[in-house]
């Protein structure tokens, strides 16, 4: 069965979540344009979630985003509507397109909605119990030819497909957040993946204008394989520095170094907040269970015990976690001992900054991320860090080496087929300016 046929009957499970919404939007837009190009076919998108309010929010989100997409694609719409005498203004056509997109959405709480679907995208809660229950239910309901694409970012798929009775019909198709914008899809083929499904996944990625990077079916894959260990490294650094500097200054320094010295788009703790501290814990648990690796953090548990979770509002604004945010900028750091936030202000901050020492001057992630050839500037930047004898430079060298070691480990363990795949995931999925397996500070390796 070809992709076009399958795309006529699609379901998204967990559609109202952060990732599910984005996946639903991508599919809704694709179906909307297809429906206009192929008026003889019927396209249906089943959006399934336990959260009624979330589903209504999702339809709103799709409506607003479809209008924006139609506006961007107005020339295409003018062509598609050439024979529609009733549609003349741009506005007429954008509204009609939005209607076409919404027309094929069916929302509901039951998996029975997916029973005719030929492609099922799953972006449910990231635990094995939840996913097992969903796939078992779907296996009983869906046609035998249905393919399942899981957005799991950590759970191995071979075991899952076997346990649920859908061997060969499940593949890992891991989008990055937000799916509309992020170009990366991490593609995880379980051992027995049907060749037709593997081909189809590549075609689908191309259709959605995504770039795929293959990862092995090993818990955490490449993206979380790096992220979770990088986050745990940062937490250990905080714990190492805290006795001397105090917890809040220590966390501030590690955050600053990961963002402003390593030139990442956000600091490591802001990234954990962005993902959600709870989600971080779930993923770490899945990985630990499958890999037999110690990936536990008492600090993470402590934050969650105190109800500090991070994550995002439905509008995409950051919720307080390790850091508190004002207009998406960090303004305070959570101190679990005090059970309160400490403002990023005052004498303690000055003292911490003085201990850190300055970053080299002249660059930031912002100044470089649109640079088509940032290589020479990165060379100069890291050369400067090499020559600095400050705490900041020392922390930067340590973090760089740790991140690089994590990346190399992913290659050695066979999670990634080579350094270029690790680097591609970090660059495309995490917007890093350079891959972790690079040489900038590598000669410090001892």
């Amino acid at each position: 069965m070809d992709l076009n046929t399958r795309l006529r009957q699609v379901a998204v499970v967990g559609a109202a979540g952060k990732m599910g919404s984005g996946i639903a939007l991508l599919l809704a837009l694709e179906q909307g344009y297809r429906a206009m190009e192929h008026p003889e076919s019927t396209y249906i998108l089943n959006l399934i979630d336990m959260n009624d309010a979330g589903l209504q929010g999702l339809v709103r989100y799709i409506r607003d985003q479809a209008a924006k997409d139609g506006e961007k694609q107005i020339s295409r719409l003018r062509g598609l509507f050439r024979d529609r005498a009733d549609l003349v203004d741009n506005q007429d056509m954008v509204q009609e397109f939005v209607f076409e997109v919404l027309l094929r959405l069916r929302t509901g709480k039951t998996l029975a909605l997916a029973q005719e679907s030929l492609l099922v995208f799953e972006a449910a809660f990231e635990t094995e119990e939840v996913k097992l229950a969903i796939y078992r239910d779907l296996a009983a309901r869906c046609p035998a030819e249905t393919f399942f694409l899981s957005n799991t970012s950590s759970i191995p798929l071979q075991a899952l497909s076997e346990a649920c009775g859908i061997p060969g019909r499940l593949i890992g198709f891991h989008f990055y957040n937000p799916p509309l914008v992020q170009k990366l899809v991490e593609l995880i083929q379980p051992r027995d993946c049907a060749p037709e499904l593997a081909r189809l996944a590549l075609d689908l990625a191309r259709l959605l204008r995504k770039q795929t990077v293959p990862a092995s079916d090993i818990a955490g894959f490449i993206g979380n394989g790096h992220f979770i260990r990088d986050g745990l490294y940062a937490i250990r650094e905080v714990e190492r520095l805290a006795p001397e500097l105090g917890f809040v200054p220590a966390l501030h320094l590690v955050e600053r170094v990961s963002r402003d010295f390593l030139l990442r788009p956000m600091g490591i703790f802001q990234l954990i907040d962005y993902v959600g501290i709870d989600v971080f814990q779930l993923i770490a648990r899945v990985m630990a269970a499958h890999l037999g690796e110690e990936l536990h953090s008492a600090l993470i548990d402590r934050y969650l015990d105190q109800g500090v979770k991070g994550g995002q509002t439905s509008g995409g604004a950051p919720k307080a976690g390790f850091l508190k945010y004002l207009k998406s900028r960090p303004v305070a750091i959570y101190d679990p001992a005090r059970r309160d936030y400490t403002e990023l202000d005052g004498p303690w901050l000055q003292a911490a900054e003085a201990r850190l020492g300055p970053a080299p001057e002249g660059q930031s992630w912002k100044s470089l991320h649109r640079d088509p050839d940032p290589g020479p500037k990165l060379d100069a930047w890291f050369q400067a860090i090499k020559e600095m004898d400050t705490l900041g430079a020392d922390l930067a060298r340590r973090h760089f080496r740790a991140s690089r070691a994590i990346g190399l480990d992913l290659v050695h363990q066979g999670v990634a087929s080579g350094p270029e795949d690790v680097n591609a995931v970090l660059k495309l999925g995490f917007f890093h300016l350079y891959g972790p397996i690079s040489d900038y500070l590598a000669e410090d390796l001892r």
Partner: protein
């Protein structure tokens, strides 16, 4: 030949900031003032220059599309918010697409010529940033023939229409010369706008304007022959001026140095449903300017300052030719030579024009008259040019050269 049956003058006059992209205070995300604010503001600044608002006999307001941009019709009645003394007097809104302001002037002039009025408050207003530029393009496309050309036209309709003209002009004079002249037009417009605090490009600090103007057009994203710098932006603004008889301006407490005389004017409409006879010429503009100049008894080169309707840089070049300042096809070189710059022989659009000041469509014609009057009476402030001659000419164009008003003013 038609002549002015009695002397008519322009006096007082003001215009608001042209608000829109480019202005520091503009953001699509923050709430902006509506029609009423602009009408009140330009009106009040004008009335402040005359002795007694009660002396105004009539009001005319030019507006193109408030019915769609602001869901507001009936602007003749709305303009009485400027002053209580306007109530229970004649007031009307006139529409001629982007020449609506020019049309308001012509209407005011005719009222004074008729003898029924001695003092007319002429205004123009448009508030366009109520919708995204894509939908703004829909509304502005109403200046073309909706039934005949909208359906098959491009998404950005008027940029598309003038792109066709730019393409034809490039075919006539050579693409490099045409592009270069359009880029020079853009640079001159922004440089002038930097001297005019009300201009939309007043805050522009780009170092190499010429390089921007030379940006190759992107046919896929926009148009084949125009880049974004060739276009006037989406603007909110209003302008106002007094049209008065000889007795009229004297009553207002003004002196002859404060006012300029309308030496000639013309108002023409061409058939909206037919394509332009020659894409490389603004035929209606040429005919309107010729009539106004004939009425004034001068030639274009006898004037010392000019206001033309550069909704796009290409319309600027073609206007220079339509006025007769350059032969057909020679406008590009004239602009390249700097003749239309501040220090040139024919300073054009000294306050920025539509590309630099902005283009609140219904207000543009009135804004042009205010700028010309300021130049001729030495009140243009930082953008004042030394005046070699005593006449000024304006050309206000609606749609694709379909409604045109031309005025010749004398100090």
């Amino acid at each position: 030949m038609k002549s002015m049956s009695r002397p008519v003058f322009l006096a007082a006059g003001a215009y608001t900031v042209s608000l829109g992209p480019g202005r520091k205070e503009f953001s699509p995300r923050i709430e902006r003032p509506g029609l009423e604010h602009y009408i009140r503001s330009a009106g009040a600044d004008t009335l402040a220059q005359i002795s007694d608002p009660a002396l105004i006999d009539e009001g005319v307001i030019g507006n193109f599309m408030a019915a769609r941009f602001n869901r507001q019709g009936h602007l003749g009645s709305l303009m009485t918010i400027v002053h209580p003394s306007l109530e229970y007097k004649p007031a009307l809104r006139v529409e001629g697409a982007c020449a609506s302001g020019g049309l308001a002037l012509a209407t005011g002039i005719k009222s004074v010529l008729s003898g029924l009025a001695d003092v007319v408050l002429v205004m123009g207003v448009e508030v366009q940033n109520t919708v995204k530029s894509l939908y703004c393009a829909d509304y502005l496309a109403g200046a073309g023939h909706y039934q005949g050309e909208r359906k098959d036209g491009p998404a950005f309709f008027f940029p598309g229409k003038f792109s066709e003209r730019a393409g034809a002009y490039a075919g006539k004079v050579g693409p490099a010369l045409a592009r270069s002249a359009m880029a020079h037009w853009y640079r001159n417009a922004v440089e002038n706008a930097r001297l005019n605090p009300a201009a939309q490009e007043y805050h522009n600090t780009v170092a190499d304007l010429l390089a921007q103007g030379l940006t190759p057009p992107n046919p896929k994203g926009f148009t084949e022959h125009l880049n974004l710098f060739d276009c006037s932006k989406v603007s909110d603004g209003a302008a106002a001026i007094i049209v008065a008889s000889d007795t009229g301006w004297r009553r207002l407490g003004l002196t002859r140095q404060d006012v300029v005389e309308v030496a000639g004017f013309a108002q023409l409409a061409a058939n909206l449903t037919t394509p332009p006879p020659d894409l490389t010429e603004l035929t209606t503009c040429r005919m309107a300017a010729a009539q106004a100049l004939a009425m004034a008894g001068i030639g274009a080169r006898d004037a010392g300052v000019f206001e033309v309707h550069d909704c796009f840089t290409i319309s600027g070049l073609l206007s220079v030719e339509a006025l007769g300042l350059a032969a057909p096809g020679a406008g590009a070189q004239l602009v390249l030579d700097g003749a239309t710059g501040r220090a040139g022989q024919y300073p054009v659009n000294t306050g920025g024009g539509l590309v630099g000041y902005g283009h609140p469509t219904g207000a543009s014609g009135v804004r042009m008259a205010v700028d010309l009057m300021r130049q001729l009476t030495g009140r243009a402030g930082d953008y004042q040019v030394p005046l070699a001659r005593e006449h000024g000419i304006m050309l206000s164009m609606g749609g694709n050269d379909k409604t045109v008003v031309s005025l010749v003013l004398r100090r």
